[in-house]
Structure formats: structure tokens, C-alpha cells
Symmetry: C2
Subunit: 206 residues, 2 copies
Amino acid sequence: MEKEEKIAIAPEKLEKILDVAQKRFARFGLAKTTMSEIADDLGVSKASLYYYFPDKECIFKKVMMKEQLDFCRQMKKIVASDKNIKQTLKDYIENRTNYFKTLINLGHLNYDIFHEQKPLYASLGKEFYEREKEIIKTILQNAMERNEIRKIDIDEYSGFFVHVLRTLRLYALARKELWEQGLMNKELKQEYIFFTNIFLKSIEKI
Amino acid sequence: MEKEEKIAIAPEKLEKILDVAQKRFARFGLAKTTMSEIADDLGVSKASLYYYFPDKECIFKKVMMKEQLDFCRQMKKIVASDKNIKQTLKDYIENRTNYFKTLINLGHLNYDIFHEQKPLYASLGKEFYEREKEIIKTILQNAMERNEIRKIDIDEYSGFFVHVLRTLRLYALARKELWEQGLMNKELKQEYIFFTNIFLKSIEKI
DNA sequence: ATTTGACCGATTTTGTAAAAAGGTCAGTTT
DNA sequence: AAACTGACCTTTTTACAAAATCGGTCAAAT
């Protein structure tokens, strides 16, 4: 059974809380963000937060879910645009890098998994991986039905595609020289494009 | 100018020192290995080590260089075996995973780069990357001369191939559950094979 | 139903003294 | 002279306790 809010909560109030928390988490991470700070930002007492949420992790989880949903909604638009697979994947990786700039917590998830081996991070990471994999799966499924690509194990290929995107991003995140100079996203995007081209070539109709 | 030994040193003595240091570094890493321990293992005083080496990093560097050379010598054998590119790359990734089990320091280099951002690690990592890239370059060059693959930018492709191998390995190293159970190498090898197949398909003659 | 200040146990932070580290050198051994 | 060492110096790491802070609870107030 998942942890949820303790009681019913007005949507606009929930949104305000998650909004404030999102900014704090983005800047300082889960560990270095305190409940008092979130409460202060909202202009309420810490105890009030515990009236709505059972613990800090629950708020963090909700923030992450929100970012995940935002991300997936955006990406599903690309799938729905119904272009050929080459253009769809290009659009996908273009938007993926751009959107991670906004959704900082989601973008740093892999990095957090790596540096602190909290089960919470691991489970969030795994869930996000599965979601993204499903989207890529749809893209490949569509392409296969249209005879744009050869017959492949879609589950295997989509899983590997997402996996490589993640590993490339993790590695790029580590090179702080690039990260601080803002060059990271540019380099990472090039790597994405290169990999996508290889990937496409390997599944294209012979 | 590179730091070297202070004075000429008998080869068998140098080898013994590096041998002892290699074992310590492999078990405890650079930071948690002390000069006194290395000296004790050798049955000499700490000051004796400083008679031959200017500092600890220099010993570590030499150990890493030795492992790099061992690795490259082994891998170059595969290139020299002169099989078709498909078999050569398969042999390469097979031996790569296996050989990292022996050369523990080299195998953990990427991991160390990630967790401590020491310039020493970064430079060692970059050098190793360049070396490995050169080997893959040779493989691709041979294949192209034999008309086994289509015309590609060999420098770009070999660089990316090595880059992906590294990122996949880094990620696998992080999942300690697998690492501790010894399943890591098995899973990683599968990822390598999958990627190599994609890679090969993308450069094969049409 | 909602909010809060006071409060609790556990964790983190901080300050610091002792220990151990890297590294040097005058001098001894071979 | 080349090889080696114990004593020594400076910096870093460790160990540990006091203080502060944090996550979380609850009776009382609104």
C-alpha cells in the first residue's frame, strides 16, 4: 500500500506545497531540504505539513511523480504527432535534454541513485525507467506496424535504448567541468543524436 | 615534464614495489593505502620508498600504467589475430570484461573518477580512453580496408564505441546488488553484446 | 477541520585534541 | 657513492563529545 496524504486536500493547496517543495528539492536535494524551510516558504508551521503528509519522503515522492507525469505527457505528445520513426526519435531526444533542464529533480535522479544508494531513489529511478521504456516501446511498435523497421524484439530494444540514454546522461553529469560551463547539454545531445543514428540504422528495413 | 623515479632503479626491484602496491591499491584504493603499509609489505622503511619515488601518486600512476599496458597488450593480440570485424569485436568485449577482473585498479578507474573528482583520476581515465580508442580504431580501419563495413568516420565511431562501453560499465558498477552477487559481469557482458550487435549492424555493408 | 507551539528521540553538525598520514633530511650502512 | 633509515616536521584524518538541528508527534487553540 502506497503512502498518500493523510486527509483529503484541496488541489490548489497541494499544488502550492509541491511547487514550493519542488524548488527547494531542485536547489538542495532531498537531504538538505528541511521541513521547516518548506513550511517557512509557505508561511505556515512545520506541523501543518504533517497534517497533510505523513513524512518528508512522501512530499518528495509526490514532487517526483509530478515531474514524471509532466515529462511523460510532453513526450507522449511527440509520439502522438505521428511522424516517421526517424523524426520521432530525433524529436524525442531533442525534447528529452531540453525538458530535463526544467525538471531538475527528475534530471538529477540518476545521479542521486549513484551517490546515495537510498532505496527510495532506486525505486523512483526504476519506475521512471519503466515509464520511459513504455513510450519508446510505443514508438517502435508504431514504426513496426508501418513497416518502417525490420522485425525486432521491441521490449528488448526499447529497454536498451532508454538504458543507454540514462548511462550517457549519468556520465555527462559527472563531468562537472562541462556541467558548470553549460556545455554538458550540448555535448550530451550530440551523443544522443549519434547513438540514435546508430540505433536507427541497426533496425532499419534492409 | 612527467614525474618519474628520482634515480635509476633496478627493474626487478621496481617490479616488486609495483606488485605490492598494486595489491594494496586494488583492495583499499589510493586514499586508504598508506606508504608505511607498502613499505612494511616490502620489508623496508617508508623513507626507502621516497628514495625511489617522489610521492605516492607517482607509485599509483606507475601501477595504473602497468595495468594499462597489460590490458592493451592483451587486446592488441585480438586485433592481431586477424579475424573478421564481427568476431574481433566479440572477442574484444569478451576479453574486456574478463580482464578487468584481474586489473582491478584499472577496472575501478571510472568509478573513482565519478566519486572523487581528483585531477589525477581524470587524466588517467582520459589517457586510458585514448589508448582503447586507438585499438578500436585499428579494428575498424582493418575492417574498412577489407571492405567488411561501409565508409564511416572511423575516429568518431571508435570514440563513441569506447565511450558507451565505459558508461555502461560505470552504471553497472553502481548497482551494488549485482556487483556483490557477482552477477554484474554477466549482465554487463550481455549489454556489451547487445550494443556491439547494434553497432555492427549500423556500420555493415549495405 | 485546520493550525500551532511545545516537545521528544535521533541524527547531523561543530569544535577540537590525539593519531596517523605524507613527505624531508641528516646521518648510517653497505 | 649508492642504498637505506630513524627522527622529525607539517598537514590531514580520526575520534569523540557537546551543541544544534531535524523529522516527527500531540494536546491544545483557532
